[in-house]
Symmetry: C2
Subunit: 257 residues, 2 copies
DNA sequence: GGACTGCGTTCCGGAATCTGGAACACGATA
DNA sequence: TATCGTGTTCCAGATTCCGGAACGCAGTCC
């Protein structure tokens, strides 16, 4: 009844803000009687609100409140907002904070560019690690065994330059470690370019990635590297606020939780 | 297992961002074995994260993501943000959007003043209706019977000018209806002044209240009325965006959620 | 070292809750 | 009136939950 609740709540997305019983039942592969009861129970508990006219359900205001509290409850998220804001102001491009969740990179904070963008990196969206700057930054400093375990068996080709070969990806991660930042250019979508850098906590573990992204028309391949300094800068500043010291003794461990 | 989940999540507040098993057990009045299982289950479902070092629980990032989606899922909240921002810019004071929840006024959006404030109206905080501008605006256009049902039997005195008599409060609500806006001055806290106005949806029902609040030192009693026009303006603009038409036929009904 | 304290988990039989196919309700089309 | 699409209710069998007691594990104080 609890895992089910989360799976129900995760049916919602910016493109589906409300849902009906049958629609949810199909999506979940459960009989409608069961889902009807679930939705009613979840709404009674306060996680969903029901539109009195259409009878459809949507995420509740109470959930909005809890979420607001949640985003301020980890220092990572709270501190990141200022860095993201500064990064977007400095570069003019959209910036995101992503973390590793279930083998994928998930955006948990975003500040959008004032310029026209392909609204692709909304909060909550998850991305495959092998095709994104965020994913590469999150994986690069992890054990190779863990990386292999986290990645799917096959690396699907998502855009013209997606890396689909595991060895090639591992080699790319080594380059990320050398340079300190990651990139993705026409790897997730053909019009998308991104630059990312790792965020570390007091133990040195990589706990997140700061990324800026833009249409390739604004960041041609050759000028990708020019965006690295501000991103690195922001990521290092954030890491420092989380207690990471470049010269410290705790720099050893790179695994995460 | 679901109602319990909500009651657990509601233990968290800006002043308690994490919690341990025993602390939660005491707060909930349940045996620690039960609460231990609950917390573990809730965390397994993804609503809580567990600090690997302290073993304590906090609201999860996944919840932050859901909350972000939730706050954009009702047009009320989405549209209110711009109005709140404008209101705070215009008046220089903190503005809030509140809704009625379980007989109390709950803040669901806030834009804080750049000036020093008594950080009192955080998102998620609930207030008794009889002592707040938000509560009065939310109640004033409801049936008298409903108002009596929503209010507690006794109206506790919370500050020097709190209205503690029901008839007096009903009279005050009539004045709110006449003027179109509500006020509270030293009614919730001795240093707090506020002005509020109702937000209506397409059916004319009062679905929320916009409020600005400040220390009494910045809003003396005699100048309270001067703050009404911008608040009313913002509330009316928001109502219009929600489909409310002053001249429409749907202006009749005032009940509703 | 040894006893103690505080926090948290595990165990287990009785009790409470959930499950899903079928039947039912109800408004909107046709 | 018939039909369709949505959503709720029913009920016996299966599953899960409950909470007191016992246990594990660090710290901490003599």
């Amino acid at each position: 009844m609890l895992g089910k609740t989360m799976s129900v709540l995760e049916l919602f997305s910016p493109t589906r803000r409300e849902i009906g019983v049958i629609e949810a039942a199909e999506e979940l592969g459960r009989p409608k009687s069961t889902v009807s009861r679930w939705l009613a129970a979840i709404a009674a508990a306060g996680f969903l609100d029901r539109d009195p006219e259409s009878g459809r359900y949507r995420l509740s205001m109470r959930l909005a409140v809890l979420g607001d509290l949640a985003r301020n409850s980890t220092s990572l998220q709270r501190l990141a907002r200022a860095e993201l804001q500064a990064l977007t102001t400095a570069t003019g491009e959209t910036s995101n904070l992503a973390v590793l969740m279930g083998g994928e990179a998930m955006n948990i904070e975003a500040v959008e560019s004032p310029r026209p963008i392909l609204h692709v990196g909304w909060i909550g969206r998850r991305f495959p690690c092998h095709a994104t700057a965020a994913g590469k930054a999150l994986l690069a400093w992890r054990d190779q065994d863990e990386v292999k375990r986290l990645l799917p068996r096959r690396l699907p080709k998502l855009a013209s330059r997606t890396i689909t070969d595991l060895d090639e990806l591992l080699h790319e991660l080594a380059r990320v470690r050398e340079r300190g930042y990651s990139t993705a250019w026409r790897e997730l979508e053909d019009d998308l370019a991104a630059v990312g850098a790792p965020v570390r906590d007091h133990s040195g573990a990589v706990v997140g990635a700061l990324v800026i992204s833009a249409p390739v028309s604004r960041i041609p391949l050759k000028s990708l590297a020019a965006y690295a300094p501000p991103v690195l800068n922001a990521a290092q500043s954030l890491s420092a606020q989380l207690g990471y010291r470049l010269d410290g003794a705790a720099v050893r461990r790179n695994g995460g939780r």
